[in-house]
C-alpha cells in the first residue's frame, strides 16, 4: 500500500507540472504582465515607468519560458514560469497582486466553503441513495416511472433557478431564513440551511438517476437471486446486499470529489454571500490575479489526485478482493 501511495505521488509530479504549464500558457495568452500591472495600478494616470516598476518588483519583467539572455541552465530557471512554479510544489503560494498572503487567504476561506459543501455532499449522498434504492424497490411500478420523470424534470432546470426561486420563496416571501450572508460558529446554521437544501435539490435529478442505474444493474446479479432464495425480505436484499455490492461505482464517483469540497461552489457562494474559495477564484479571474488563479488551479489538481488515491484505497476497504500494490 505504501509503495502504491509513493508511486502515485511520483506520478503526480509530472501531472502537476503539466497542469501548471497549461495554466501558465493559457493565462499569459490572454493577459500580458503589462495588462496585469495596469489592472493593479488602476485606470487613471498609469505611466510606463510605473508598469515597469510593478513588473520588476514581482519578477514579471523576465522572459516567460526561455531567457535567451542567460547562459546554461539559467536559460530555463531565470524565467517567470520557473520562478513562479517552483515554490508551489512546497505549497508556498506567495502573495496575491494586492500583497495579501495567498496561503492565509486559502486557510481562512476553506472553512466557509466546507460548511456548505460537506453537508450537501453527506446529506445529498444519503438522500440520493435512499431515494434511488426506493425507486429500485418499486421498479416497474408507477412510483418508479414518476420518480424518473421528476428526476429528469429536476435535472433539466438550471441550478440558478433553484437559487433564485429558493431565495424568493423561503426568504423573501415566507421570511424563514436570511436571503444571504454568513456567520461562523453556531449562527452559521440559519445561513447555511437554504443553500444546503438548494444544493441537494439542484443535484438530485442526475444523482438519483445515476444511483438508480447502478442499483438496477446489481439487481440482475446472481447473489441477489440467492439472497431472495434464502427468504430475505426485499428491503434487506436492497439495503444490505445490493448497496454493499454497488459500493465500488458509488465510491468511484463520490470519494474523488471529497477533497474538492474544499474548493467550494462558485454560484452558490456568490448568491448566498458565502466567503469561500469559490468566490475567491472568481474574484481572482476577474481581477487577472495570476498568482491566485495559479494557486487555485494547482490546489485543485493536487486535491483531485488525492481524491483518486483515496478512491483506490477505499476500494480495498469495501472489497477485500482488491489489493493495491
Amino acid at each position: 500500500m505504501l509503495n502504491y501511495i509513493f508511486r502515485r505521488i511520483l506520478y503526480a509530479i509530472p501531472i502537476l507540472i503539466g497542469v501548471n504549464l497549461i495554466t501558465f500558457a493559457l493565462f499569459f495568452v490572454v493577459n500580458t504582465p503589462d495588462d496585469m500591472a495596469r489592472m493593479q495600478l488602476g485606470i487613471k494616470y498609469v505611466t510606463p515607468e510605473a508598469i515597469e516598476k510593478w513588473k520588476m518588483e514581482r519578477g514579471y519583467n523576465k522572459s516567460l519560458f526561455i531567457n535567451l539572455e542567460k547562459d546554461g541552465f539559467d536559460k530555463l530557471t531565470d524565467t517567470i514560469f520557473f520562478e513562479k512554479s517552483i515554490t508551489m510544489f512546497v505549497f508556498n503560494f506567495g502573495k496575491a497582486d494586492d500583497g495579501r498572503d495567498i496561503t492565509q487567504e486559502i486557510k481562512s476561506r476553506m472553512l466557509p466553503s466546507l460548511a456548505i459543501a460537506l453537508p450537501v455532499f453527506v446529506l445529498g449522498l444519503m438522500v440520493y441513495i435512499s431515494i434511488a434504492l426506493l425507486m429500485v424497490f418499486f421498479r416497474t411500478t408507477y412510483i418508479d416511472f414518476w420518480g424518473v420523470v421528476i428526476c429528469v424534470g429536476v435535472m433539466s432546470i438550471s441550478s440558478l433557478f433553484y437559487i433564485i426561486a429558493g431565495q424568493f420563496l423561503i426568504s423573501k416571501l415566507w421570511h424563514l431564513v436570511p436571503i444571504s450572508g454568513y456567520e461562523g460558529g453556531v449562527d452559521a446554521g440559519k445561513f447555511l440551511l437554504l443553500p444546503v437544501v438548494i444544493g441537494i435539490v439542484a443535484s438530485a435529478g442526475a444523482n438519483i438517476r445515476w444511483y438508480r442505474t447502478i442499483f438496477l444493474e446489481e439487481m440482475n446479479k446472481e447473489y441477489v437471486r440467492t439472497a431472495r432464495a434464502k427468504g430475505l425480505s426485499e428491503r434487506l436484499v436492497l439495503f444490505k446486499h445490493v448497496l454493499k455490492n454497488a459500493m465500488i461505482p458509488i465510491l468511484t464517483g463520490a470519494v474523488v470529489v471529497v477533497p474538492l469540497l474544499f474548493l467550494g461552489s462558485l454560484l452558490v457562494e456568490s448568491f448566498f454571500g458565502i466567503p469561500g474559495l469559490g468566490s475567491y477564484t472568481i474574484d481572482a479571474i476577474n481581477s487577472q490575479d495570476f498568482a491566485i488563479v495559479r494557486a487555485m488551479v494547482f490546489l485543485g489538481s493536487v486535491l483531485y489526485i488525492i481524491g483518486l488515491v483515496l478512491t483506490d484505497i477505499s476500494y480495498t476497504i469495501v472489497d477485500p478482493r482488491i489489493r493495491i500494490l
Binding site: 488602476g42 487613471k44 500583497g99 495579501r100 498572503d101 424568493f168 456567520e183 448568491f271 448566498f272 454571500g273
Partner: protein, 728 residues
C-alpha cells in the same frame, strides 16, 4: 412517528426562542435597535493605504478614516472647499525665480514656484492603535516583535494594548514622502512629481537607500530623508512648494492621498511577520477620522466604528435653498458623527441586495435595471419618483447628476474619422458632425439608462465651473433651441454634412464604395448586444455601416494606446470639481499615442491647447469662463467626441435614513448621516413576520404523497415471494 412529532415540537420551540427578532434577519439579535447603519459593497477593496487607494470602492472606507487637511462643504453647491483638520484654508503665495513674493493676479508665466502654508488644529488625536502603545522605556511596545510573540496574533484586535497620540504636521509630511516610496505604487506619484518640488529626486534617493538596506530590514525611515518641496515650519505647520502655478493642487489636499500617516504605524506594519499574516497598513488603516475600521473581512463584511478620540466637528448650519425644506438642516450645529457603527456587507449579486433592502436589512440601495420599473416611475414632467409600492414602505428617491461623462471618441489619427491632411481633416470633421447629429442620445438614455442621464453638450459635467445651462450651453452643431429646450437637429442636416464630407448617402464619392466604420468596444455580455444593435441603427440612418469590434478590456486598452481604434467608447469620473479635470482629456500633450496621457482621441488643436494652458492657471471668474466658452466652441465644432451623456445617480433610502444629500465628489459623508434605529426595528418586525403555513402545507403534501409508497412498501415486505411472483 413519536420521534418525528418530538422533532417538530423541538424545532418549533427552537424557532419560537427567537421571539422579538426576525428569523430572516442576517444580523445578530443583540444588534436589534442599535444605532448601526447597514450598507453594502460588491467589490472587495484592493488598497486601504491612502497613498494607493483611488477607486470609489476603496475611498468609501478610507475617506471616513483618514483626514486630509481640507474637505468639501456637505450641503453647498457648487462644491466649496472648507477646513477639515486645518485652522483655515491655506492661502497660496507666488514667487518669482529670485524668490520675490508676487501679487496674486500676476501672470502664470512669471511665477517660478507657489507655496502653501498649512496649519493644522492642535489637539486632534489618532484612533486607538497598537502602533502607539509604549513600553516602560518609552519605545514602541509592538515595533519589534518576534514570530513567537506573534504566535497568537491573527488580526489587529488581538493586540492587548492600544494607545493614541496627537496629530502633528510631521504626519502629513510623512505621507507626502510616501508618495515617492519605491515599494508603494501611488497612482498620483507621476502627476505630483511634476508639481511638488524635489519629489522625483526624492524617489531616486529612497530607491538608492532601499537598495543599500540590509535584506532583513523592511522599514525605511522616511524621516531621515528630507524632501525639498515639503518643509516643517513648526509642530502644527508645514509648507508645500509647487513648481510654477497649479491652482488645482488645493483640490488634491481634500483627497486621502494627502492624509496624515504616523511614522509609528509605518514601523509597526513593516514587520515581516505581520506582513506574512496579512496585517499591513494597506489593510488596517490608522487615522484621525470619525470612524475606524474594526473588522476587515472584505470577503464578508467590513465594520467601521466611531473613533472614541474624534475631534469636535459639527453639522453645517447653512446650505442651499431648499435644504431646510428637505430636512437637511434639522441637525445644524450638532456634534458629528451621528451613527455609532457602520456594517458594510459584501453582496455580489443584485437580487439578494435588492430583496434585503426591501426587507429593511439594508438602509439604502442603488437601483439596478432589473428592479428599476418596480422602484421608479416617471411623473408628468418626466420627473422621477418612487412607485406606490415603494412609497407605501416609506422609501424615497434621491437623485443627482454625477460629475462624470460617458462618451464615444473618434481617433483623430485615423485617416477616415480624423484625416491626415488639411482637406481630409475638414472632410472628417463634417463626417464627425454628421454622426454627432445622427446618434440620438436622448433615445439611448431613455431605452438603456431608464432615463438616468443628461445628454452632454460638451465634456464638462453639470455642477462644474464652465458648464452652462439653457440656450447658451447647447452644442449648436447638434442642437437647436426650440420651445425653451434643446432639440436635436434633423437627420437631413446630418445627411447634408455627410455629403459635404464626401460620402453622399453613405457612399464614398471617390471610390463608390459604401462607408464602413469600426466601433471598438470591450467584450460584451448578451445584455449589451441590444445596445450595439441600437448603435448600428443610428449609423444606418446615414447609410453608414458600423462594424463592431468587440474585445477584452486589455486588448481594448492596447488598441487605444497604440492608436489602432477608429471609434471607441469611454468614460471619465472627475477627480475634483474643476473644468481642468475634464478639458485636459482633449489637451494635445495629453494624447495617448506617443505621450501616454489621458487624451484617448489623440485630439490636438493648437488654439485649444493654448487656451487650455491659459485656463488651467486662472482663478474662477469671468475671464476663465470666457476662455472655457471658446474652448467648448472649438470642441463642438471639431467634434472629437460624440459627447454622450452625464449619468444621473439614483438612490433609494428608507424613511429612517436622514441627512442624505448625495454627491460623488466629497466622500467623507458618513459622519453626517443619521438613522432612527428604533423605527427601523419596528418596521423590520412588521415586514418580516415569518409565514409558516406554506411549509406546513408542503410537509403535509409530502406525507400524503409518501403514504401510498410507505403502505406499498410494508405490504410488499409482509407478502411472500411466491405470492408476489404469482401476482405479477
Amino acid at each position: 412517528m413519536r420521534r418525528f412529532c418530538l422533532g417538530i415540537v423541538l424545532t418549533a420551540l427552537l424557532l419560537s426562542a427567537c421571539g422579538g427578532h426576525n428569523w430572516n434577519s442576517p444580523y445578530p439579535a443583540a444588534d436589534s435597535g442599535k444605532n448601526i447603519l447597514y450598507s453594502v459593497f460588491s467589490e472587495r477593496p484592493k488598497h486601504l493605504d491612502p497613498v494607493q487607494s483611488y477607486s470609489s470602492n476603496e475611498i468609501q472606507f478610507t475617506a471616513q478614516i483618514y483626514e486630509p487637511p481640507l474637505q468639501y462643504h456637505y450641503l453647498k453647491r457648487p462644491f466649496e472647499l472648507i477646513p477639515l483638520t486645518v485652522r483655515k484654508l491655506p492661502v497660496v503665495k507666488y514667487f518669482d525665480r529670485a524668490g520675490k513674493l508676487l501679487p496674486n493676479d500676476v501672470d502664470a508665466d512669471q511665477i517660478d514656484y507657489s507655496v502653501y502654508d498649512i496649519s493644522i488644529k492642535p489637539g486632534i488625536l489618532f484612533q486607538p492603535h497598537p502602533a502607539f502603545a509604549k513600553n516602560e522605556s518609552g519605545n514602541g511596545m509592538y515595533h519589534d516583535l518576534s514570530a513567537q510573540a506573534l504566535a497568537t496574533i491573527f488580526k489587529l484586535t488581538d493586540f492587548p494594548q492600544t494607545a493614541t497620540r496627537e496629530l502633528i504636521a510631521e504626519d502629513y509630511i510623512y505621507q507626502i514622502k510616501r508618495l515617492a516610496h519605491p515599494k508603494l505604487h501611488s497612482p498620483i506619484y507621476e502627476l505630483m512629481a511634476d508639481y511638488i518640488v524635489g519629489l522625483r529626486d526624492y524617489a531616486k534617493v529612497l530607491s538608492q537607500a532601499q537598495q543599500i538596506q540590509p535584506d532583513q530590514q523592511t522599514y525605511l525611515d522616511l524621516r531621515e530623508y528630507a524632501l525639498e518641496g515639503v518643509e516643517l515650519i513648526d509642530r502644527y505647520t508645514y509648507r508645500i512648494t509647487i513648481k510654477g502655478k497649479y491652482p488645482q493642487f488645493i483640490y488634491w489636499l481634500a483627497m486621502p492621498f494627502f492624509a496624515p500617516i504616523p511614522w509609528e504605524a509605518d514601523v509597526f506594519y513593516s514587520q515581516p511577520e505581520l506582513i506574512r499574516k496579512n496585517i499591513t497598513l494597506d489593510w488596517y488603516p490608522v487615522g484621525t477620522g470619525p470612524y475606524m475600521l474594526t473588522e476587515n473581512d472584505p470577503n464578508l463584511r467590513m465594520i467601521l466604528e466611531k473613533n472614541p478620540h474624534f475631534h469636535k466637528e459639527f453639522y453645517p448650519t447653512e446650505g442651499m435653498p431648499g435644504d431646510e425644506d428637505n430636512g437637511l438642516l434639522i441637525d445644524a450645529g450638532k456634534e458629528l458623527p451621528f451613527i455609532d457603527k457602520i456594517v458594510f456587507t459584501r453582496e455580489k449579486e443584485s437580487i439578494p441586495r435588492w430583496n434585503k433592502f426591501l426587507q429593511g436589512y439594508y438602509d439604502a440601495t442603488g437601483i439596478g435595471s432589473d428592479s428599476f420599473d418596480q422602484a421608479v416611475q416617471m411623473a408628468g414632467q418626466g420627473e422621477a419618483t418612487v412607485t406606490e409600492e415603494m412609497a407605501a414602505q416609506g422609501i424615497r428617491l434621491e437623485t443627482t447628476v454625477a460629475v462624470s461623462t460617458y462618451y464615444i471618441g473618434f481617433n483623430m489619427l485615423d485617416p477616415v474619422v480624423g484625416g491626415s491632411n488639411e482637406r481630409q481633416r475638414e472632410s472628417a470633421r463634417k463626417l464627425r458632425q454628421a454622426i454627432s447629429i445622427a446618434v440620438d442620445y436622448e433615445e439611448f438614455i431613455s431605452i438603456f439608462a431608464n432615463g438616468r442621464g443628461l445628454p452632454a453638450q460638451g465634456p464638462i459635467a453639470p455642477g462644474i465651473e464652465g458648464y452652462r445651462d439653457g440656450n447658451e450651453g447647447i452644442n449648436p452643431v447638434v442642437y437647436e433651441w426650440v420651445n425653451e429646450q434643446p432639440q436635436r437637429k434633423s437627420i437631413d442636416i446630418a445627411k447634408k454634412l455627410l455629403a459635404e464630407a464626401g460620402y453622399p448617402n453613405g457612399i464614398d464619392r471617390k471610390t463608390g464604395a459604401p462607408l464602413i466604420l469600426h466601433f471598438d468596444v470591450t467584450a460584451r455580455s448578451s445584455e449589451d448586444r441590444s445596445k450595439l444593435d441600437w448603435m448600428r441603427k443610428q449609423f444606418q440612418k446615414l447609410n453608414i455601416q458600423l462594424i463592431v469590434r468587440s474585445t477584452d478590456y486589455n486588448r481594448f486598452q492596447d488598441k487605444i494606446r497604440k492608436g489602432n481604434a477608429q471609434i471607441f467608447e469611454w468614460g471619465w469620473n472627475a477627480d475634483y470639481p474643476d473644468p481642468e479635470n475634464f478639458l485636459f482629456l482633449l489637451y494635445g500633450p495629453q494624447r495617448k499615442v506617443g505621450n501616454n496621457g489621458e487624451n484617448a482621441a489623440n485630439y490636438d488643436n493648437k488654439e485649444y491647447n493654448q487656451l487650455f494652458e491659459q485656463m488651467k492657471d486662472l482663478e474662477k471668474g469671468a475671464r476663465r469662463q470666457k476662455i472655457i466658452d471658446r474652448m467648448l466652441m472649438i470642441l463642438r465644432q471639431d467634434a472629437p467626441w460624440l459627447w454622450g451623456y452625464h449619468p444621473k445617480d439614483y438612490g433609494l433610502y428608507h424613511s429612517w435614513y436622514q441627512n442624505v444629500k448625495p454627491n460623488r465628489i466629497s466622500n467623507n459623508n458618513l459622519k453626517y448621516f443619521k438613522i432612527d434605529a428604533n423605527f427601523r426595528e419596528k418596521q423590520r418586525l412588521a415586514w418580516n413576520e415569518p409565514i409558516l403555513w406554506p411549509m406546513g402545507l408542503i410537509l403535509m403534501l409530502l406525507i400524503i404523497s409518501f403514504m401510498p409508497v410507505i403502505n406499498t412498501f410494508y405490504r410488499r415486505e409482509r407478502s411472500t415471494a411466491i405470492r408476489r411472483e404469482l401476482s405479477k
